[in-house]
Symmetry: C2
C-alpha cells in the first residue's frame, strides 16, 4: 500500500533548491514546483529515512498512534509520525524514555519522528499557565502538578526522546487577542527560537541527527505574519512551521494568512502547517506552498464513527450503512475496505467494539496518505490545479467555511 508512484520519476532529476543540516544527515530537496499555484514536490532526508513531500504526518501523541500497531501505521503509507513533548514529559517522563533507548525503540517506530514542542498543549490542555521571558509554568492536566518549560528544557526533552525533527517552544496565544499581545508573543517566540538554537548547539551529542524547526506565529494579522515569516527566514533552522492557524478562524482567513506567509519563507527549506489535516485543507495548504501537515483528525474522527470518502465524511453508524454488504470505499486499499463490509463496521462501531475504531482509523489514515500520493503525482505531472479543483468540488465538507477557491496566484519562482 505504501508504494509511492511519484518517487521514481523525480529521483534522477537535479533538485531546484536544497538545504542541509547536521553534516548532510538532514536534507531538503525541492524537486518540482507547480506552474499555477505555490504547490511544491520535495524530499526530506533524515537520519531515519526519506520523506516524500508534501506529506501528512499521523499523530502519536502519547507514543502511539491511537488504536494502531506501528506496523499498521506504516502500512497506511505513513512516512513520519508525530509525538508530543508535553504529554510524554508528564507521562511516562523523559527520563524513562531516555532509559528505554529513546522514543523510537520505546514505541517501536523506526521511521522519522517529529516532536511538537508542547507550546500549543500548554495553552490548550494545561491549567494556570503563566508566561515569563524565561518560559512557561503550568499545571499538568493529568494530576495538577506544577511544571516549567523553557526554550532550553524543551530542546533537552526532545534530545532525550531522540526526535528527528524538534520544534522550538513558541508562545501560543488564545484568540481573539489584542494586536499588541500577538506582536509580543510573536517577538517572544523569535527570542525563544534564538535561545533554542544556542541550547541545541551547546548540548547536542555528536552522533545526534536531530534538527530544529522554528515556528511562525502572528495570529490573523497579515503584517505580523509577514514580519515573523521574514524573521524566521533569517534563522538557522532546518525547517519553518506555520503555527496558530486552524484554531477556529474561517477557512478563507487561514488561506489568506498562508498566502501572506509562505512566499516569504525560504524556498529551500520544508514548510510545515501545524495541526491541519482535513482532506480539503491538504489540497488548499499544498496550493499555498506547504510541504508538511499533521492532525489528530483521522484518528479522532474514527473514534466518532466518522470515515473519509471521496464524496465527503460519512458516519458509518448511521442507519443507511446497516445493510451495506460492500466496503465503505470500494476504491480504497486499506484493511477496512478490502477485508470487511460497511455493515460489519457499522455493527462493530454501534456495539462499541475496539476493532471498529482500529479499522476506521486505518482507513482514515490511508485515505489521507492516498490524498498526498495524488497531490505529489499531480505536482509532478502538471495536473495539480485541475485535480485539486476536482477534489474540492466533489468532497462534501462538514463545515460551511470550507469552500474557499484555490489561490489565484501563480507560483512566483522556479522552473518546472
Amino acid at each position: 500500500m505504501a508504494i509511492d508512484k511519484t518517487a521514481a520519476s523525480t529521483a534522477d532529476r537535479a533538485p531546484i533548491a536544497s538545504s542541509q543540516h547536521r553534516n548532510g544527515s538532514f536534507r531538503f530537496d525541492l524537486l518540482s514546483e507547480d506552474a499555477t499555484t505555490w504547490a511544491r514536490r520535495g524530499r526530506i532526508t533524515t537520519g531515519r529515512g526519506v520523506i516524500e513531500t508534501p506529506v501528512f504526518m499521523p499523530v502519536g501523541t502519547q507514543a502511539t498512534v491511537k488504536t494502531l500497531h506501528p506496523d499498521e501505521v506504516r502500512a497506511t503509507g505513513a512516512q513520519i509520525i508525530l509525538a508530543n513533548t508535553y504529554h510524554l514529559m508528564l507521562r511516562p517522563g523523559a527520563d524513562l524514555i531516555r532509559e528505554a533507548g529513546g522514543l523510537h525503540r520505546f514505541m517501536r517506530w523506526d521511521g522519522p519522528i517529529l516532536t511538537d514542542s508542547g507550546g500549543f498543549q500548554v495553552f490548550s490542555l494545561a491549567n494556570q499557565n503563566t508566561v515569563t521571558e524565561r518560559g512557561v509554568t503550568f499545571a499538568s492536566h493529568i494530576d495538577g502538578s506544577r511544571w516549567t518549560m523553557t526554550p532550553e528544557s524543551v530542546v533537552d526533552l526532545q534530545l532525550a526522546y531522540g526526535s528527528d525533527i524538534m520544534m522550538q517552544l513558541d508562545h501560543v496565544l488564545g484568540l481573539p487577542a489584542e494586536r499588541e499581545a500577538i506582536r509580543d508573543a510573536t517577538e517572544r517566540s523569535s527570542r525563544w527560537l534564538e535561545r533554542a538554537i544556542v541550547a541545541l548547539r551547546e548540548t547536542q551529542p555528536e552522533d545526534s541527527t536531530s534538527v530544529l524547526f522554528g515556528i511562525q506565529q502572528g495570529g490573523m494579522e497579515a503584517d505580523l505574519r509577514r514580519e515573523h515569516a521574514e524573521r524566521l527566514a533569517s534563522m538557522d533552522v532546518a525547517g519553518c512551521a506555520v503555527g496558530g492557524l486552524s484554531v477556529g478562524e474561517p477557512k478563507p482567513v487561514m488561506h489568506e494568512m498562508l498566502e501572506e506567509s509562505t512566499p516569504l519563507l525560504p524556498r529551500d527549506k520544508p514548510r510545515y502547517l501545524m495541526g491541519v489535516g482535513s482532506p480539503e485543507d491538504l489540497w488548499h495548504g499544498v496550493a499555498r506552498g506547504i510541504d508538511m501537515f499533521d492532525c489528530v483528525l483521522p484518528t479522532r474522527l474514527a473514534r466518532n464513527n466518522g470515515m473519509f470518502t471521496i464524496d465527503g465524511r460519512i458516519t458509518v453508524t448511521n442507519a443507511e450503512w446497516r445493510n451495506v454488504h460492500r466496503p465503505v470505499d470500494e476504491t480504497c486499499d486499506c484493511r477496512a475496505c478490502t477485508e470487511f463490509t460497511a455493515a460489519y463496521l457499522h455493527h462493530l462501531l454501534r456495539a462499541k467494539e475496539v476493532l471498529g475504531l482500529r479499522l476506521a482509523s486505518e482507513h482514515n489514515l490511508r485515505f489521507l496518505a492516498r490524498v498526498m500520493e495524488d497531490i505529489r503525482a499531480s505536482i509532478v505531472d502538471g495536473t495539480f490545479r485541475e485535480r485539486a479543483q476536482a477534489f474540492v468540488d466533489r468532497y462534501r465538507p462538514t463545515s460551511a467555511h470550507v469552500t474557499s477557491p484555490l489561490p489565484a496566484h501563480r507560483n512566483g519562482g522556479g522552473e518546472r
Copy 2:
C-alpha cells in the same frame, strides 16, 4: 506461533474411539488417554478445519474477539472461536448476518465457530425473563425490547449464523436454588434438547455441516449431575457440554461436580466445560476429562491491565513494572513480549491507549494457547500429571479457592 508440535506425533495412530455426524463432516477421534488422570488427547474435524483437543476457545461475543483482528486471533494459536447467539440476535440481528453470507464471512473468520445458545445470557444479562415449557421470554439488555427464545428458534438462529457447533437452549438457574427447582430445570433442559434435535433434523439444509451439542446441568447436586449426564449420554448429539459451573462456587466443588459428570459422558464424543478458562482451571479441567473450554477471562483481564505469567497474574500498571525495559514474559512468543517492553505496556495501559489493550489481549490468548499446547504434548508423552502439578504449584492464583489437588483417580478405561 500457531504450530502444534503434538499434531504430527498422534496423526498416524489409530483412534481409541471415534464418533461422527453429518455424514462424517464432523468427527471426534480420541487419540490418547492419560494413565493417571481422566486427561485425553483428541481431534475434532469440522467442515471448517481440524481442532486439536484439549482446546481453549477465545470468545468473540459480538462477532469480534474483543480488540483483535481475526488474523491476530489466529496468530495466537486459536483453532476455533465462540460467538454469542443472544448478543447477535439483538445486534446486528440474525437476518442481517444471513444476508451477509453468515457469521464467518461477516467477521472474516474462516475457522470453526461455536455459538452459545443464549441460555446463560438470558439469565445473566437480560431482564424480566420468564420460563415456560415453550421457551423463555425476556427484555433486551440493550433497549428493553421483548424477545422470546425457544429450543427451535435458537436452532434457527444458529443455522442463520452458519455456526459449526451449535449449543442447545438450556434452562439456566441462578444459584443458590432449591433442589426441586434445579431438578425441574435439568429435566426441562433435556426436553428442550429433544425438541432442538427434532428442529434441526427438520430444518437443516442439506449442505449445512453444523452439529448440535447438548448441555448437562444439575447445579451442585452430585446425583442430579449424574442423572443428567446419563440422560445426555443417551441423546443424539455430537458433543456434550457441562454447564452451570464456575458460577461462584468453591473450586473443589466445581472439581467434584466434574468428577461426578465426565465419567458418565460418552468416551467417543468431545466434552466442553462452558465458561471456564483460568490457566489453573484448564489443567484441572483436563485432568477431569474435559476437551474444550471457553472464557472471556483472557480478554476481559487485559482490559483490566492484567496479564498471565507462569508465576501468576500480574497487573502491568502497577508501579513495579514502570521501569522494566524487558518483556513481561521473556519466554512468550506473542507480539507484546517479542516487540515491546513491560515499561511500554505499563505506559500504554496507564494512558488508556487501545494498543495496550490489544497487546495484553494477544498475550493472554497466546498464554492460554501455550498452556493447551503443553497439555496436549504432556498427555501424549505421559507427563501430564507431573506437568499439571508443576504448573499449579508455581502459578499464583488470585482466588483463595483455587488450590484443589489434582484428581486422585486413575483413568478408568482406554489403553495408551
